[in-house]
Symmetry: C2
Subunit: 689 residues, 2 copies
């Protein structure tokens, strides 16, 4: 957080010693930090600007709390970033396509253009993020989940990380459908960084109001990440509900909706203003029939599709866990993965070779970008039968890529599914900032499409005698498959709503939900970890719900077993010497006070600042006073017993937002738990797995 403070130009005087600072913080407490510190040049203009800023903040504050402006700013900024990223990625992808087209006729040059472009981009992204901020690689969602559970991880919220992740992500996305990686995970992470930054700004402006918006901003930021990435506010909020640890606090509900709506509105308005459409529209326009979206009996097929997606997700998750383990344990892979840039380049080259359109790429529509892939899969027109008996409505460009090799579309789809499975698993090992949600979403769409095409073919051959009936829409199956597979892989239900919000096809809401639920049921059976759980476990993040998946007994460990060394404590009648010793040895803000060291009965705690004041006063006074005569002993709010489990302690820390939980046994102080300690405890427990 230090660099954030510096970037904001807050006047923290590092030179003064600790004691003086803590002393001053008491007296300056009621002043705004914008007005403090008179030792800087240009005092007069500064003062005028500050005064105007304060007036502005007063005016704004009269309408609603300052945090609401922060929420709105977060939504607008993230939508802007998302739009900017989309724009850059589109330009880079077009440049690649242009170059590839220009080289038409020379297959070798085309091959180099096809393969070197993405591999260079991946190598750049990888080296860049490795050298500037190694925390920026990967999806970021496991880290966001950990932070939302209450654990502080300042490295993951720095401005450097934001900068690196943003540029690295553009490179990864510009590598296109060759590397087949997505945007949403890192974007949620970017959003939390921006949220942390804005939260800091808000707390600076309203320093005298003591509103703690830090945790709130992170929760809200997760929602706005999804909302501004896809222009989908409701699924953003549902995503936030799902990534929370065990409880979703209702006080975050309205801020989440507000920010997500701001983000989605701005994102869509930006695309209107850039000339993408005449009004606010969904990201993936579809043309599903409105009169009869599906026959009631198709519900059964959607349910089957859900189960199929669940099974495929189990297979994918197994492969993913295996490769995570393999890259960690296999000595060759270990050596390879230390040279991040080289490794990324080589893997991207391999993937690009496989997708080269003059090679196997022709069977898997590799010329399409991710967006084009999804749009083609969601097409409502039937590919199979119409291509050979009735091509009246079918525009040629829709089928072009999927049947470019001349092979049947269904075979192309099956080949795509077969190849992309291992390619996707391999791409997950790339040390670049990248999302893993969208690839799975597209993969699910392809799976659904394959089933849909089969059903549509069977249906169209079955009803040849009675041509009056409307055709089956294979796009609906693609939609349901996309939601079901991505939901099953991440163990969430919000992809169902996301699929609906992305396409605006509300007619399919019930089948999509049903497929997602069934896929989830299959994927969650046997307490297998989800995709993000596996990443958390592999990275040994202190995230309790993931650790629970790896070792079910872990959260029920009694707190007493993991408390560690006994904490510093003061007795009621402590003399200044004892207090001085306690202040020197402990760095906690709340120091427990016991009746006497013999009995050890916990009375409450004193604040560190009060102890420092007590020490200063005691120097002046000749007859030494005891602690309880000067300081206020605050009663402890909630006491745990050593028999409470780690899970319970975690939940209570989360719920009460307390800084310190004291643990007492039969009235005697045993120890205390803070978030820092909880982090340590979880990290220790994670090591044992």
């Amino acid at each position: 957080m230090k660099n954030l403070e510096e970037a904001l130009g807050t006047e923290t005087d590092e030179e003064n010693n600790n004691q003086e600072r803590e002393d001053q913080s008491e007296t300056f407490h009621n002043k705004s930090p914008l007005l403090s510190d008179p030792w800087k040049p240009c005092q007069r203009p500064r003062a005028i600007v500050k005064e105007w800023l304060l007036k502005l903040s007063c005016c704004l504050g009269a309408v609603c709390g300052m945090e609401w402006y922060g929420f709105a700013a977060l939504g607008v900024l993230m939508a802007f970033l998302s739009f900017l990223m989309d724009l850059s990625v589109t330009k880079l992808l077009r440049a690649h396509q242009w170059l590839y087209m220009k080289l038409e006729g020379n297959t070798l040059l085309q091959f180099f253009c096809w393969t070197l472009y993405p591999s260079c981009l991946c190598a750049v992204a990888s080296s860049f993020s490795h050298n500037i901020c190694p925390f920026s690689t990967g999806s970021g969602i496991p880290e966001v989940r950990t932070m939302l559970a209450g654990i502080e991880m300042p490295h993951y919220l720095s401005l450097t990380n934001m900068f690196t992740k943003f540029l690295g992500l553009i490179c990864t996305l510009a590598a296109g459908s060759t590397v087949f990686l997505g945007k949403v995970g890192p974007f949620v992470h970017l959003s939390t960084m921006m949220g942390a930054y804005l939260s800091h700004l808000c707390s600076l402006i309203q320093a005298n109001e003591k509103v703690k918006t830090d945790g709130e901003m992170l929760v809200v930021a997760a929602a706005v990440g999804v909302a501004s990435c896809f222009g989908a506010p409701v699924s953003g909020v549902l995503f936030t509900v799902e990534v929370m640890c065990s409880h979703f606090a209702l006080r975050h509900y309205v801020p989440c909706f507000f920010t997500a709506t701001c983000g989605a509105l701005t994102f869509r308005l930006l695309s209107v203003w850039s000339g993408d459409g005449e009004t606010l529209q969904v990201l993936f326009k579809t043309n599903f029939p409105t009169v009869l979206p599906f026959y009631p009996l198709e519900i059964l097929l959607f349910a089957f599709l859900g189960l199929l997606c669940g099974a495929v997700s189990c297979c994918y998750l197994f492969c993913h866990r295996w490769i995570l383990q393999f890259t960690k344990t296999n000595p060759v892979m270990k050596m390879l993965t230390t040279e991040k840039g080289l490794y990324s380049g080589v893997v991207a080259f391999l993937l690009a070779t496989v997708t080269f359109p003059h090679f196997t790429g022709q069977y898997m529509a590799s010329k399409y970008t991710m967006k084009q892939l999804l749009t083609s899969l969601l097409d409502s027109r039937q590919w199979t039968s119409q291509s050979h008996n009735a091509s009246v409505q079918l525009e040629p460009e829709t089928l072009l890529e999927w049947s470019s090799s001349g092979s049947p579309v269904c075979l192309s789809l099956a080949f795509f599914l077969l190849m992309k499975m291992w390619m996707l698993v391999l791409a997950c090992t790339l040390p670049v900032p990248s999302g893993y949600f969208m690839p799975v979403f597209v993969y699910g769409a392809a799976l659904g499409r394959l089933l849909g095409e089969g059903v549509a073919y069977a249906f169209s051959t079955g009803v040849t005698s009675d041509q009056q009936r409307a055709a089956v829409n294979p796009g609906g199956y693609a939609l349901a498959g996309a939601a079901a597979l991505s939901g099953a892989v991440t163990h969430t239900l919000s992809p169902a709503l996301l699929a609906i919000e992305l396409t605006g096809q509300f007619s399919h809401s019930v089948p999509v939900l049903l497929a997602t639920l069934l896929a989830n049921a299959l994927a969650r059976s046997g307490h297998r970890p989800s995709f993000y759980d596996a990443l958390s476990i592999s990275k040994r993040l202190p995230h309790l719900p993931s650790l629970k998946k790896a070792c079910p007994r872990l959260p029920s460990t009694p707190v007493g077993q993991v408390l560690g060394v006994k904490s510093v404590q003061l007795q009621k009648a402590a003399a200044p010497a004892e207090v001085q010793h306690a202040v020197n040895t402990s760095s906690e803000t709340q120091i427990p006070v016991v009746d006497s060291h013999e009995s050890g009965i916990l009375l409450g705690f004193v604040l560190r600042s009060e102890l420092l004041m007590f020490l200063r006063h005691s120097k002046a006074e000749t007859p030494e006073k005891h602690l309880d005569e000067v300081c206020c002993i605050h009663p402890p709010s909630i006491l745990l017993s050593p028999h409470n489990t780690v899970q319970e302690a975690h939940s209570i820390l989360n719920l009460v937002g307390a800084q310190t939980l004291f643990v007492s046994d039969k009235g005697r102080l045993v120890g205390f738990i803070t978030w820092t300690q909880m982090k340590k405890i979880l990290e220790e427990l994670a090591k044992e797995i």
Copy 2:
């Protein structure tokens, strides 16, 4: 709950004395209640049936937990009930319409038919519910919120109540748009009753698994109530998130979605099978243009509509609070409202007189049912300009009612809004089972429509020179207005999604959300109570978040102040005589144990069942043993201090699901808090308001 048990035929032998029963409960604990108790006739057939049932439950349990079957059953049953209710109401409404049409020509007879039918129905509903189960009147949502906050209210979950509420609600709904009351609130209540019943059934079947699904079923039932009422699963889940007290537990998330989807799917399938449509469709079909749903600049108008709805909601809530107070304090009203049946009849007669189509009813489209009203308001075609310059697309029946008097449509709408405001407030005092959500939703739609018509008129006169541009869609404003007003009145955001799910118009999701958010912002400013809060406060329900609105200082009352008399406690070395005394005086299941009565240091608690066993054993043994030599003293899980607030204690009870929270001060036992005590405390505090 007793009648539930009897209805299920569980063999509780009431004759045996208490001690023996408690004794047996220990030994029979691991047996299924279906197999216990061998003193009934037809033992052999019973045993065979039981064995088969057990085998079936084993088979079902192998696939997934028994509770999932309960969830599915809840969804299906509620959808069935909802469908049945809709069917009966439609028949009753048609009967009324038929009779009214038959009397065409005789205004006096028509007047009597128009007024007496609803007033009789209301009088019947009122007397019926008052005489059979007085808890069945009103919406039920305040009570559901209280139960979801953890407070037990068995009266509100009885089978009698369910029966009364169901029949009463049919009567109220059959009174039609005259009384202008809705279905959703009581339906959510019905759903929780069904949930409690099924939960009881589930716990009977899996008695040996000790799974506590009671609270879970209630949460899930709230979601399924909304979902099966409208066929809207996602807004059902969001509704549940919103009605929770302060935190939404994530373990309820998937069950809620599952049950809501089951409910919505069944509800829509039933309407397909009844011939309402060829496939699963939304409840209110709309015909919004898909190419250009709205111009980007209209976003500002939607925002204005949101603020307007917020202001109107404040006005409505003020009137509602005033009439609640008035009926309680005014002696004439007090007298009137004691004669429930008469009062309902008179009020319904008054309302029907006002809406009589040959009187003022002609200006407010009173011949429409609620559903027809909403459908007409959501129509995408413009009423004003087209009626006098271009009537090409307009079918006559759409406008028929709104302009039946010959007056301009806008005047009709304005008159409708003006009259319905006081009629709605008056209807809220009717002591019948009735929902208050749908009327507000329709009112909001009318408000939005009025603005939309104005905008469309201004737009169509503005662009006469350039006729190429698409017309403004006033139906979109109606949709946004409906969501915004109902959201503002109930202080929730789920109506936004409900509006989208009811109509399937995803294109309008962002403006609808924006309007709802702004309306909510205005309605929530100044910590005014919502509609349901006002009902909770008026009924003095022990619902903490509502009490907080009435008296903000209340939840921060220290627990120590409200604990009441000191509880029974045992000392570690208690002799059998003391234990006997404690067992006789206290009825709690957990009895605290202290070091000695002098020190009062809390050691833990013993279970009542263990104490009873200790007493029996002590009779047999000659050298008397002390408590700690025989019984296991369980450590208390979480200790509160007397300085903790009521709010904190409430949250922690909710979170840990603990039966008993001990309160200790400096290690000494001060008292304990159970849900029963919490209910008493809140009821006491509510009296002080």
